[in-house]
Amino acid sequence: MHEPEVTLELAKTFGLIEEEYNRILDILGRKPSYTELGIYSVMWSEHCSYKNSILEIKKLPRSGGRLLVGAGEENAGLVDIGEGLAVAFKIESHNHPSAVEPYQGAATGVGGILRDIFTMGARPIAALNSLRFGSINSKETDVTRTKYLFKNVVKGIGDYGNCFGVPTVGGEIYFDESYRDNPLVNAMAVGIVKHDEVAKATAKGVGNPVFIVGSSTGRDGIHGATFASEEISEASEAKRPSVQVGDPFTEKLLLEASLELIKSGVVVGMQDMGAAGITCSTSEMSAKDGMGMDINLDFVPAREENMSAYELMLSESQERMLVVIQKGKEDVAKKIFDKWDLNCVEIGTVTQGPNVKITYHGKVMAEVPANTLVLGGDAPVYVRESKEPAYLKEVQNFDESALPEPKDLNAVLINLLSTPNITNKNWVYEQYDTQVRTNTVIMPGGDASVVRIKGTKKALAMKTDCNGRYVYLNPYRGAMAAVCESARNVACTGAIPLAITNCLNFGNPYKPEVYHQFREAIRGIGDACKKLDTPVTGGNVSFYNESPDYAVYPTPTIGMVGLIEDIDNMVTSYFKNEGDIIAVIGNVNCSNSIGGSEYLKQQFNLVKGDAPEIDLNSESNLIKTLVQLANAKSINSAHDVSDGGLAVCIAESCMINRTLPIGCNVNIKYAGRQDFCLFNESHGRAVISFDKENEENVKKICSDNSIEYLNIGKTGGNSIIINKEVNIPLEIAEDAYYNSISKIMEN
């Protein structure tokens, strides 16, 4: 087969820069073949190499706590949860594919992250998603495409997870014009594995056979990783063929077959094929322990005829794995995959290295040192220029006292409850199977979702969080806030925050202003994680989230997992009984500044001020307090104060149990303006409710942890009553809170 001549110009069209092309010439001591050029270009793309981010990411706390496997060591991090069990979890972006082909883009995002989990031997027990779209109800701009993206991303996530049989238990969804052309689709998966059944992504033992298992290889997704490493533009539509196509049914079979194979004990190493397909899996597994591989592409089961070596190597066809099996145990593997009607084909052997050698039709098509391809090896690493963006001073220089005070606070609160960022996302969650495997004990819609672990008393609380508006206004503080909010969310259920995974969605890293946001956000995540003792288990960086018209808000999404030791102590976020005491605990005397709030955006159409205040010491104390309150069985509900402030938090506590809403009557003293007091989004606060007999106990636990306590009123009645100014019948609040998205989407 004739291959194009390799030149610098060709290399550039593959996304390589001149310096990188010269580096390839140096490494090989010759001109690369066409296939080799393809291999280097995907492996050195931002998506695979993290070349522009790794120096910063390494500053994050990547050990400590209950971490068994640290970030970057395997496909996903691994955290000990006792009784010989570990939790594997990771979040990853699929933004660019979803921007051009929302259904398949989102679906394959879910599929990819699930494979990352079960390739380690862990059975996925839950999936979450963090989604960002443009406005779906803007009056100024045409929302047709945004609604199309939203609808199909949700459908893609649902169809994949539902068929695969993993409960999709939540996450979060924000709408803002900055995400209009470049939506964010971050998929997270959580799995459970026994310590002694963990599979590693390595190739060891010269002569051990290398198998490709699962789906056949087609022409889909070629150069997907490179596509993910550039900005979205008009031309992106032409990259539709770079989007992979998902097959959740095959993934389900691959899950069962892979776990059975790992249990059989014949696996040396295993890695899923995501970005850069056979290229990435062969080179990374080889480089891990300094080995090599001889791969013969003639044996790769192909879906299409006449595929070239280049196409086979770069295809991102889904639902495939590369497995190294102990020599002599080939039949064990073949038998298991035969049972599940899946391919299981030997395509090569492990060699002494250092080269990965690719043969096709009797000809060597590529022979490159594995180590030169991979992150942590000789893949390029760059220090990028960073410069504080000029807009920061401009937005932070903001006099909120000049804003007119609204007369009707009822209308303000109802409007906030119906705004897409705050309103209940049941329209989305009802399209996801939230319950399959019968372990979901807290459904999406409260703080964190909770999934129990059968055969133990334990449960895992999980949540994703990031308010991109905060990060835009103050990258350091906003990123800290994302960590703290996710920790508060899991702690509200009574769970001890264990560790995080992160998905760092930013613009073009070659722009110094963007890089400043990135660096500051990393610093914020690092400081918060150190304080809360929640190390980073890994994650993903997604740069180039820009279009000619918009750069997304910097959005470092945090996926947090927390552990509930005894499920009987679990706490939910809604009021339970009439006559319970309602209290605010934590940062009770906050500054009431409304910078960055949803209120400021909805009421005044402003994104200004500083991100809401946050204090890591008091966050840490609040989290301890919430866990202790749960374990002492002192409280009936806990809900963290976040978007929409205290008033929204209280209203939600009244309504989250849709079958049995309970009103409230609270009185909140304030200095200054009441609207600022009710709707500011200062961190470090939670609203709790409890039997009045427990008040002394609750106060003691708070004071033991140096946490402030403020009794604000009682539950009961059929209205949400806050001070003299807010009095909303539950049915009106419920209509605003539960029906807004369906009204927008079904019209």
Partner: protein, 228 residues
């Protein structure tokens, strides 16, 4: 009298098989085994659960391929000999495809997958599937809270079939608020002989208070009582 011996069929793509197994084996302490779809016999199993999921990916019509699995031949034989068969969700679709139950399941009227708790009216309490619900003092139709999770639950049949389903009291469950557009709010039906049940909602997901409802347990208890 024989004792209930449950067999939970596993097709490629079944994903509620573990949930049914867990409910029967660990919550109700029943003798329960999985039945692999490639088997040609149900062995000594006398109550067959055809579970939910996406058999063969449901890429063709739901259940259309699963009905040709080797195990189905023996399940049809078992059913025609009066043996008990329960199809849940995808299982209901498979039973319709295999002719054990009349009618078919279309895409939901909303064209969207729907997963939520719904209220069911138990409209026929004199069945081997609902006997245990008959303890109600009220005499009215007893209700149950139970989850649905499906994209194709919109039951349909022709007029004559609907009439005969009603005439023979074959409609076992109706939705209080129809989530999928099913004709006559039908959520579950049985065959004329009363030994084969198909239903879209998931009783195996509603067998413990910890997961939100235990209203589905009595369905399995009814079957256990009638077999034992």
């Amino acid at each position: 009298m024989s004792k209930a011996k449950f067999g939970v069929v596993v097709f490629p793509g079944s994903n509620c098989d573990h949930d049914a197994y867990n409910t029967l084996k660990h919550i109700l302490n029943q003798d329960t085994e999985f039945l692999w779809h490639k088997e040609s016999s149900i062995g000594d199993r006398n109550v067959i659960i055809v579970p939910g999921g996406f058999s063969y990916g449901d890429y063709l019509r739901c259940g259309a391929i699963a009905r040709f699995s080797p195990i189905m031949k023996d399940i049809v034989r078992h059913a025609s000999n009066g043996g008990v068969v329960i199809g849940i969700c995808n299982g209901f679709q498979i039973l319709c495809e295999s002719g054990l139950l009349p009618g078919a399941l279309l895409r939901n009227a909303s064209l969207k997958f729907v997963c939520k708790n719904v209220t069911l009216n138990i409209v026929n309490k004199n069945t081997i599937f609902t006997g245990a619900y008959n303890s109600s003092q009220s005499g009215g139709p007893e209700k149950m809270i139970i989850p649905v999770a499906h994209g194709d639950g919109n039951y349909i049949c022709d007029k004559d079939t609907l009439k005969s389903l009603n005439d023979n009291a074959q409609v076992v469950f109706r939705y209080e608020n129809n989530p999928n557009g099913a004709i006559d709010d039908i959520a579950g039906i049985m065959n004329k002989n009363g030994n084969v049940l198909g239903m879209m909602p998931h009783p195996e997901r509603a067998s413990e208070d910890a997961v939100g409802s235990s209203d589905g347990r009595k369905l399995f208890e009814s079957v256990i009582n009638s077999v034992n």
